[in-house]
Symmetry: C2
């Protein structure tokens, strides 16, 4: 069975009845609500759902329809940049599906939102159709107000839907790998050590590919806070071992680590196989994995 | 959803048509065949299935019925000790079910085999009703021939079914934790080092609880061969780290390890959480685990 995760962001974080309507609408049959959080200052809500692709696409479409009906960007104020009522819809592969297949799903959902809700849709990240649409901040530059002013310029031509903008603004739909948010606590109160290690491991300063990192002081303990953008590029255990090695060079040990949110099972299985030196381990070497494979072959 | 594994052993390893009939019968709806192997010298077949408890119990009962009809212990010869056509049925918890619940399943299956197939049934391991029936070798002492001679003695009184024995013999049914068969290869050709480490880690010589271990030489490489009888007593990563520590004391590294057969996902997740120092990690911190939990709550 294929499972995708979807993490749509809506430009409403204050009116509980609207937030509740979004959360209700997204739970189409077969859609599992994993998390939702709203921020008053950002005036924004993030809902995390997972399930089979068909179910998730249906649920997210329904929520986007509710958002288009109930959120007016002309009246919206909030700290977070936004371009639409349903601001961004990232589609994420979890199990039994590739990123390339999620790109196709992004096209399907974008086309439906464009046609049935009459909203301009921009495809981003792995689903981008132009290099200048790879990065979300580039698409969102000028926000909703800039879009209203410049909709007719050629660089604003949507991938799907009409080249005109109403109170619901535009929707950005895309596909990206699963993001693992992971913090490592060092056995030291020296934030400088966390900052140095963060700089050493992050891609932007020549470190590990697909790794973002910053150093913080959290309750008196140095923390390396990590966004792992693609665990198939840099496995989580490589991040851990690299931090452990850099810390030990300064005679500091890793105290503990923590996961923010969820991660795919395969990230953990790959880590276990690595540390246990289990060569050639596959998810079908677990009972549950073997059963899923057998069930898929029977279906 | 609850998943059990069941690994019935049948006293037939030579007649392909009987083996095929057993393999066919056991695959009741919802039963997934994970593995089966037959040994000519032992004249014995081991079939590994998994699935929801109801489905697996039905499939194993059907196979036991086939075995009772087609295998004659009076004519059976083989190197492996045996007491019945269906010799032993271990019921093993995998996911969403406890060992105690598997004991109840063993009673249910034993009662049904006793009543419907008219065979004497002995409960063993976690399902044992007497201390002298905890260990399979104790129940099987004297084998089928001894059972025929001594059936009327009080210590032979079955837990279920009649106190009389026919050509299908008796069936031993029980519940036990999942057994992980795991080999660690040392970066040395010295078998003595593997033997020493095996002795240090196995429970029988004062080592780790629930661990059996032996040292071998496999293709010129020292191997510590391990049966981990209960990963909830001694986690797999503790076995690995203990072997690594003992080997390093002799300046030997672990080269690689290998899994024989399958293991439950939770054993791997626990290992990953340990090595990554992820405190408090639970299976519901994976997307797939969170989805299974949500699905179970909706059901």
């Amino acid at each position: 069975m294929s499972i995708i995760e979807c993490v749509p962001n809506f430009s409403e974080g204050r009116r509980p009845e609207v937030i509740q309507a979004l959360v209700t609408a997204i739970q189409a049959p077969g859609v599992l609500l994993l998390d939702h959080s709203s921020d008053m200052a950002h005036n924004r809500s993030v809902i995390t759902v997972a399930g089979a692709p068909e179910a998730v696409l249906e649920g997210v479409f329904r929520a986007a329809a509710v958002a288009a009906r109930t959120i007016d960007l002309f009246a919206h104020r909030g700290e977070h940049p936004r371009i639409g009522a349903t601001d961004v819809i990232p589609i994420v592969p979890v199990t039994g599906i590739t990123l390339a297949e999620c790109v196709i799903l992004a096209h399907r959902l974008g086309k439906r939102i464009g046609e049935e809700l009459g909203l301009p849709v921009y495809l981003y990240a792995a689903a981008a159709t132009r290099p200048e649409r790879l990065r979300l901040p580039d698409i969102r530059r000028g926000e909703f107000e800039g879009l209203v002013a410049n909709m007719q310029q050629p660089e604003r031509t949507p991938d799907y839907g009409p080249a005109q903008v109403g109170p619901a603004g535009a929707v950005v739909v895309g596909a990206r790998p699963f993001l693992v948010a992971y913090n490592i606590y060092l056995a030291t109160p020296q934030i400088e050590i966390a900052r140095t290690i963060a700089k050493q491991i992050r891609e932007s300063s020549g470190g590990l590919p697909a790794v973002q990192a910053k150093g913080f002081l959290v309750e008196g303990q140095a923390q390396v806070s990590i966004n792992l953008l693609d665990a198939s590029v840099t496995p989580l255990h490589v991040v851990f071992e690299t931090v452990a090695r850099l810390a030990s060079q300064q005679h500091i040990a890793i105290d503990r680590s923590e996961l923010i949110g969820l991660m795919p099972e395969r990230v953990m299985l790959a880590a276990a196989a690595h540390f246990l030196k289990l060569e050639g381990f596959q998810s079908t070497n677990t009972i549950e994995g073997a059963m899923r494979q057998a069930a898929a072959q029977q279906a």
